[in-house]
């Protein structure tokens, strides 16, 4: 193995390549710019139509839209970073962010990988060796099967042994990918094969493991950060129990469910795990909290989390800048211990149809309005005119609020979501609003089964009222009166209005 060109403890970083897209690419571009670093966005052909492309100091196309040819292509990504003259690379989350081979290839190419060492990525990236480490560190793990024998027969035997419901996961997976729940024997084969298939296509490994599925548990995760000297500090916890198909939808900090004693216990276990691994940088240790207050290690995410903003809001830190500073070997100058203030909630805005069970919604974004205000934060990746394709995941933006306490934060989130305008695509906002009205969410007692239990059916689409139609007609009438021509809305029976004049693209804004 060749030695990294930059092996000094404090590498000089002037230009950071960003190997990601969407809102997180925007987040990193801005952090770089605020630290006086030049940002170089490595993007696919499809992502010229995105906010990160417009904001980055420099951009470089590394391949076509398909992720395998661009965002998951190690060679193209490293070539892009080098030819663009970057000294470091921030992988964001998803894609190559937890890929040890990629981190190693960066080091070999002389690029500082903004993240933990390849060894840490390898250790935690394989969920089996991660569980081993946690067990060695005295941390609690969930009963399951993590053996090397991956034959279907053995896996089926183990499913029976563990007892239903059983979760099958791609060993290299994360973020809900390649993860299925088996409730009955006749679902086992299909679920195992699907997990293997998704693992293979998304992470290049078909290896799976099995785990007892804790239906009534809460998802609690501890943010840790190890600075350039390896000193591990915890940044309290987040609760992300509101998930669908194991993908988080609503996250908050802190959790409404931890007593001070339990909080102390779980954060200390997290610190111990990170110390045991000799970890560096930002990491998140995920736990499941059972109704008896027993918690179990789930996995460690060796990267920035999607939901990192809620931690930033209650602690007053900037985790992305902390990552960059640590990569540069600089001190963070953080306080010895953090004191959380107030409450923060994040909602992920997905491009999907809430009235059709979350079916992806693709197309060109129309007018968008994000209702700014104190304690409201919008992490947005796309603007009017940008095309949202089926090549990438459906997260359009994140809405984050902060307020003095949880009830107020919930009210602020509801008010904020109601005023978000996103035209051109369906979004899950009606679904988010419905969930935030639910007594179990309001009381803070929700578990990871929340969505399945209360929202397994698509929301019922409210039919258009007479008043809705009158509003639409009034808009169209105004357009006509202004001489802009324009179509007429269909009547309630679907009859067409008079044939309108050809319609231009000019608008009368307001009256």
């Amino acid at each position: 193995m060749t030695k990294p060109k930059l092996s000094t403890p404090a590498p000089v970083i002037e230009k950071v390549a960003i190997a990601n897209r969407g809102e997180v690419a925007v987040r990193i571009v801005r952090a770089c710019q605020e630290l006086g670093l030049t940002s170089l966005l490595l993007h696919s052909e499809a992502d010229r139509s995105s906010l990160a492309y417009r904001l980055a100091d420099e951009t470089l196309c590394i391949g076509p839209a398909e992720v395998g040819a661009s965002y998951l292509n190690i060679e193209a990504t490293i070539q892009g970073a080098l030819s663009g003259g970057a000294d470091a690379l921030h992988p964001g989350f998803g894609f190559l962010s937890e890929n040890a081979d990629f981190a190693e290839a960066c080091a070999q190419a002389g690029l500082v990988f903004v993240g933990p060492s390849p060894e840490s990525l390898r250790l935690f990236g394989d969920k089996i060796s991660a569980k081993d480490l946690v067990e060695k560190a005295g941390g609690p793990v969930i009963p399951g099967y993590q053996g090397q024998d991956q034959s279907l027969r053995t896996l089926l035997e183990k499913v029976e042994e563990i007892g239903y419901p059983v979760m099958v996961k791609a060993a290299a997976g994360g973020g809900g990918r390649g993860l299925k729940v088996i409730h009955r024997m006749d679902q086992a084969v299909e679920a195992i094969e699907a997990a293997q298939r998704e693992g293979l296509s998304a992470f290049g490994s078909a290896q799976v493991f099995l785990e007892k599925y804790l239906a009534e548990a809460k998802h609690i995760e501890v943010q840790i950060f190890a600075d350039h000297l390896g000193r591990v500090q915890h940044l309290f916890e987040r609760e992300c129990s509101i998930q669908r198909r194991h993908q988080k939808i609503i996250e908050e900090a802190l959790s409404p469910s931890l007593s001070p004693t339990l909080r102390e216990e779980i954060t200390q276990v997290a610190v111990k795990i990170a110390e045991q691994a000799g970890y560096r940088g930002a990491g998140t240790i995920e736990f499941l909290l059972a109704p008896d207050n027993q918690f179990y290690f789930l996995e460690m995410n060796t990267r920035l989390q999607v939901e990192h903003p809620v931690t930033e809001m209650v602690l007053g830190v900037d985790l992305v800048k902390a990552q960059l500073l640590t990569a540069m070997g600089r001190s963070l100058n953080w306080q010895e211990a953090f004191h959380p203030r107030g409450h923060s909630i994040e909602c992920r805005i997905y491009a999907e149809d809430p009235y059709r069970g979350g079916m992806p919604s693709t197309g060109v974004l129309g007018f968008c309005h994000w209702p700014q205000g104190p304690g409201r934060r919008f992490e947005v990746g796309f603007e009017k005119g940008d095309e949202i394709t089926s090549y990438y995941d459906s997260m359009l933006a994140k809405v984050i609020v902060w307020d003095e306490n949880r009830p107020r934060a919930i009210e602020k989130m509801k008010a904020t979501l109601r005023d978000c305008v996103i035209f051109g695509l369906r979004t899950n906002i009606p679904f988010l609003l419905a969930m935030m009205e639910h007594p179990e969410f309001l009381s803070g007692q929700m578990t990871t089964g929340f969505v399945d239990k209360y929202f397994s059916r698509p929301l019922k689409e409210p039919s258009l009222t007479r008043s809705d139609r009158q509003l639409a007609e009034a808009v169209v009438k105004t357009l006509n009166r202004e001489g802009l021509g324009g179509p007429r809305p269909r009547g309630p029976d679907g009859e067409a209005g008079p044939v309108p004049s050809p319609w231009g693209h000019s608008w009368r804004s307001g009256l």
């Binding site: 149809d353 089926s390 009606p430 039919s463 009034a474 179509p487 269909r490």
Partner: protein, 131 residues
């Protein structure tokens, strides 16, 4: 450019956001977004009565299985001529990094099969016909 509007309906003033995109009028009013299909200048009859563009209202009870979204076919679970039951999985699609299984809405025989493994399909494309 703003899409801010004030309109009067029956003597009452309403403030709202509105934008026309293609044949669809998007409106956001009092915390809720909705759409309305418009008659295009060509007089096309395309559009949804309930105001949901791309809705697959005709899916129920139909033997025609259309792609409910653009995406890739990653598994074809049936063969031509095969007998299938209601809710039997026919095709698995992937879009936005998630898998979706398309099931048969009717009992019958697979009469037509258009979806191929690895194929990129567009919204509304017919993949299987069961009859």
């Amino acid at each position: 450019m703003s899409c801010w509007w004030e309109v009067e309906v029956e003597g009452q003033r309403h403030r709202l956001w509105a934008e026309r995109m293609g044949d669809t009028l998007w409106i956001h009013h009092q915390g809720r977004s909705f759409t309305l299909e418009l008659e295009s200048s060509a007089g096309s009859r395309r559009g949804r009565s309930r105001g949901t563009p791309g809705s697959q209202g005709d899916l129920e009870g139909s033997g025609e299985i259309k792609a409910p979204m653009p995406g890739k076919i990653i598994k074809v679970l049936v063969e031509l001529g095969q007998e299938v039951d209601v809710q039997q999985p026919l095709v698995v699609m992937e879009a936005m990094k998630m898998e979706y299984t398309l099931e048969s809405a009717v009992k019958g025989k697979v009469k037509e099969l258009y979806g191929e493994l690895g194929q990129q399909v567009s919204l509304g494309q017919v993949l299987v016909v069961v009859g």
